[in-house]
Symmetry: C2
């Protein structure tokens, strides 16, 4: 009995490792086209910044660990070019054919880059280690002074932070009016202020049609970082007859099974259920990739395990300000057919004598029922706690009147007696 | 229509302020026997430490603010000596009689001190501002070198931290085997190690029968801090015929009404529903006091508002290590009639390249259903997030298999891709 896993970054290695724990006798083969497995790509901005000095700091466990300690046959530099479901085989670029009994597809995403001029040597994405190495080589060898980041999503903001810390002049452009695809004016304003406070220009609503040799939409640039988002890498699966969902990612059930028997999908290439809408969604995140990999591995090894879904929780640091997101924004909720109300408050996160600063909380709830649909939080202190509480509340379908009485922890070194989450919930109760 | 509030620390002022927002015409009188209202007593350990330099830093709003901005008649130094429900009056120590239409009793707690020798001038509690001032005066004038803290509850540990930071030799004694009344060996061991790492002695299972002039249970002491817990201050209410619950605190319904008409109870003197057991409990905490005060004030002013209850969440800092508690320990769960299972894990809280350290998580769940009943967390990073997520999960009655898939936030500056809460939940799934 052989399990083959295509892709060994996050979901692939989670699947392989879990399958091994479930079944000690299974033959497990991981085919990874790159030079590393178990790679924490979310750390790339910190490699760019210089905080991470060696790529190996981003590797959770090296390939040899999996081979030696887990009896997993990890093969690096092996690119799968075809899946042959009828024969239960995969074919590689080197012409090898490998049979499988169970297959996990964990092919991840590719960075969007369809702009004219996007192939110039001073234009980069920050999607994988080879790309990051090229960018670092360029910074070392060419000493660029002015960088333009195209895209004010999470990666664009993290990369702007990293480039600025390296001493470059940085401008962030985005085709939309708002940052982080959230359509929230208060958040956009907070991000703009934070960028300007740290000497980074921000230009929303700038349509970038092409990358010119020395400028982007009029902004001078001897380095351009494209952060236009990612698309699921699904060609391999689609050509084999694996069904895609409406998002373009692979459709999978809650056991991470595709429409083809014994073929599972996991990680960023697969859809997951959004627990607020109840519908499949493409929400590529490292946390979800690891969880769906774990579930796919368990099921591929013979267990029955179910992945309930996600609420789309994320966090990023922008020059020390945490920005946390979970669930739907007001605009997203409206598009999904809800009748939403939203409130935004600012409140102190810790007492003054523990250097307390204000944090902001936006809550979105369904009018009438008061059910919490989503939240955005930002501030310099305890953003993690706030977004995680709200993610838990969205998952548990708490309503505003339950949220306002949540028994959250308080002691002066950590919090205020009325956590900003509770202050926001009190306003929400009045609004719904 | 006149609302009278007895006690103006946390619950009392929350009740008065909320009643004012609900009804702009209500006459509101707050009778506070001390010299301050709206006082954050949880900050007293930081006044002892020296971080808080002036008591006014612990006052959220001064009495004049409430008088001027909220039209609340705050009377300081007024001690109520009797409640006369039949006449709807209260009588004060100064012989004044004040009529009420609605009454909120927010008389708080008193510190336990029944030990022989407990009245010596070198023996203190840290329960209110006058007591803290006396202790600070003693430290200044007498320069004690060796302190013994009796009681390893939250206040005892915070006070030991504060005294040690002031340069004293400190020993913590407790009559029980375990700290924080949690009966958790792993937690006790972590606390013992942390105390020893910072030069504080810890002696569990030491029965203190009396305070001798220069020693306590054999430990030399020129300063003794009693942290033996608190009891609800209920004499006034009980003498008036207000019913007490089995805990000894005032029995109140979910609108904070007592058995006597138009008399409400709020804050530490009142019982609240424990949401895990469904039974009334005495859980004196500043967070709960503020919430129940708010609800009592709303109802006293004519609204219908319900306080669902608490899960007993708290946090404290011990030399930079956060300790968070929510719900029931395994021993408590067993005593409450559950068939509990517990797991304890340690996992890294952040990546190494963000100076990540390990954190510990103990989870307690009901065997079979897997329902989360309680949790204890400790570590130097993000304890607030972890305990608040688990408090939310206990409140929402999540089970282990739901907890393991919670969509918690991840980015390298904040967390690991598998938050210690999720690592613990995976173990819990196997155990239940």
């Amino acid at each position: 009995m052989r399990l083959v896993v295509i892709g060994g970054i996050a979901a692939g290695m989670s699947a392989a490792a879990r399958a091994r724990r479930v079944d000690r006798t299974l033959e497990i083969v991981v085919l990874e086209k790159g030079a590393e497995v178990s790679f924490g790509a979310c750390g790339l901005p910190y490699y760019l910044e210089g905080r991470v000095r060696q790529p190996r700091e981003l590797v959770h466990y090296p390939a040899d660990y999996f081979r030696r300690e887990r009896n997993i046959d990890v093969r690096l530099g092996v690119e799968v070019t075809r899946i042959l479901p009828a024969r239960r085989q995969v074919a590689t670029a080197a012409g090898e054919v490998i049979a499988y009994d169970r297959l996990v597809v964990a092919t991840g995403t590719r960075a969007v880059n369809g702009l004219p001029g996007g192939d110039q040597p001073h234009v980069f994405t920050l999607h994988d280690l080879p790309g990051a190495e090229r960018l670092l080589g360029f910074l070392r060898d060419r000493q660029p002074r002015r960088a333009v980041v195209v895209g004010a999503g999470p990666l664009g903001l993290e990369a702007a932070d990293a480039l600025r810390r390296r001493g470059l002049e940085v401008a962030v452009l985005d085709g939309r009016e708002h940052v982080l695809r959230r359509e929230e004016p208060a958040l956009t304003e907070a991000v703009r202020r934070q960028l300007e406070r740290h000497g980074v220009g921000f230009a929303p609503s700038v349509r970038v049609e092409a990358i010119e040799p020395e400028r982007v939409a009029g902004y001078p640039a001897d380095l351009v970082l494209l952060a236009l988002g990612v698309r699921p890498r699904v060609d391999l699966a689609a050509e084999a007859g694996v069904r895609l969902g409406r998002s373009g990612a692979i459709a999978a059930d809650d056991r991470m099974r595709t429409n083809l028997s014994d073929i599972y999908a996991a990680g960023d290439c697969a859809e997951v259920t959004h627990l607020v809408t109840g519908r499949p969604a493409f929400l590529p995140l490292g946390t979800t990739a690891n969880k769906t990999g774990r579930v796919a591995g368990a099921n591929a090894a013979g267990l029955r395990e179910h992945f309930p879904g996600v609420v789309g929780t994320s966090i990023l640091s922008l020059f020390g300000m945490g920005i946390g997101i979970t669930g739907l924004s007001e605009a997203q909720a409206r598009r999904e057919g809800f009748s939403p109300v939203a409130v935004t408050i600012e409140a102190r996160a810790r007492p003054k004598y523990f250097a307390g600063k204000t944090s902001a909380v936006t809550l979105v709830a369904e009018r009438g029922s008061g059910r919490l649909l989503g939240a955005t939080v930002w501030g310099e202190q305890d953003t993690l706690s706030r977004v995680n509480v709200l993610a838990s509340a969205v998952t548990a379908r708490l309503a505003a009147d339950q949220l306002q009485f949540l028994d959250l922890a308080y002691a002066p070194p950590f919090a205020t007696v009325w956590d900003p989450v509770l202050v926001a919930a009190q306003q929400l109760v009045k609004a719904v």
